[in-house]
């Protein structure tokens, strides 16, 4: 919940709670690996991608990032595997594959 907890994990006891459970470190949600919720992950086919940016625009977790050539890649630390990017892609350039698949 707090920055302290994310840093110390299981060692975090009730004594480490901030007064009123306040999070004093702004933006520490960035430290939380939401990617481990995922059961599927998006695979972007760079051949089909026309760099329109719909996937980047629709991703609710800002887990899709532009790369230098104008195409996009997923940040698997945050990507929850919701599949919205695959759904909105006009070129069907994004496929959702099972997390277990290589």
């Amino acid at each position: 919940m707090t920055g302290k907890r994310l840093k110390t994990g299981a060692d975090f006891t009730w004594r480490d709670m901030e007064v009123g459970n306040i999070i004093t470190e702004a933006g520490n949600a960035a430290l939380r690996r939401t990617g481990d919720w995922r059961s599927q992950r998006p695979i972007i086919d760079r051949e089909k991608c026309n760099k329109c940016g719909l996937c980047w625009l629709y991703c609710p977790d800002a887990a899709i990032k532009p790369v230098e050539d104008g195409c996009y890649e997923t940040d698997l630390f945050y990507c929850k595997g919701c599949g919205i990017c695959a759904k909105v892609c006009a070129r069907e350039a994004i496929a959702m594959i099972e997390e277990e698949e290589k």
């Binding site: 975090f12 007064v19 459970n21 999070i23």
Partner: protein
Amino acid sequence: MSKRVGLEASHAAAEAARMADVDVIAAYPITPQTHIPERLAEMVADGELTAAYIPVESEHSALSTCVGAAAVGARTFTATAGPGLEYMHNVVYIASSMRLPVVMTVANRALSAPLSIWGDHSDVMAVRDTGWIQVFCQNSQEAFDMTLWAFRVGEDSRVLSPVMVHFDGFHLTHVTEPVILPEQEEVDRFLPRFHYPFALDPDKPMTHGAFGPPDIYSEAKIAQEVALRKSKAVLIQGFKEFGDILGRYYHPVEPYRAEGAKTLLLTMGSFSETAKIAIDARKDKGESVGLINLRLWRPFPFQELRQAVKGVSTLVVFDRCISFGGPGGPVCSEIRSALYNEKESPKVVSFIGGLGGRDMAVEDFEYVIDRGREIAEKGSNELYETVGIRGKVAGIRG
């Protein structure tokens, strides 16, 4: 120079909030609390008090507004009664769990049905476990004093907790009594400005009221529980400072003519004053009786209570609330459990009465003393007995 004026408890509490120079008031009118927000609205409108008076559409909104205001570091006040307190119940927990020092006066009122606007302690007992510091008042003077004290201790950086100040609906809220009002300078000496260390500030962003998944909720609750229990030392220090500056000393447990007494009666709120008259009458007859006025309700003053009943053979506890299907009067059952593991403790007898505005006269308390002693002597299978209720109540067994 302090001045002596005639005030009902409602106006005394409003006056305390004014002298505390509150920043934000949000309240919804409900009998018998109405005179408190009414008077404060008048003060703000007349320029006697510079504060944001926020009219709201419900008690749920009233306390929610106070929670938001306290989170930016405002000195915050509200008042409610009975069903209003029930209506804000969810937010009552939120204020204490977020450790926001809102001060709320509660004009104690019965809960429906049947609809009753009159006083008892059902509303107090329904918020017993909400994590607020809670005190009872016996008269209008105490309504003023406890409200002022509530700001002092709740806002203390070692405490940071909301505080409920309980006084009986109608028996106090609508009764004019002499009240000694201090000078502003004395109030300012007792009550420093509020500096909330975690005030919301766009230049220093932080999160209040985040969610707590199963891997953190337990730790959050234990931290809250420990903080409330630890606050007792500061509450007592606050009573002492109040006495040193304003001249009246209060205590978590207040014995009245109790020294060496074999039988003690324990009461809360305005009925303690009526019970004291019964004690005086019995003392005059040479009986070994005395009284305990329970002031601090949460955190519960275990040590002080045990100390006060040392050597006592019978403790008669008078409750103004029924714990339906439970072990007796709610205050009495807490006292029984507080004394259960003691090597020597008095026989504890439970009486319930004074519900929904039913009066308790001096003779009623004398009956409670007599019957209480009889039960202690002969024993009884009843979990509790009633007083002032028509028809014999029997068969309430454990």
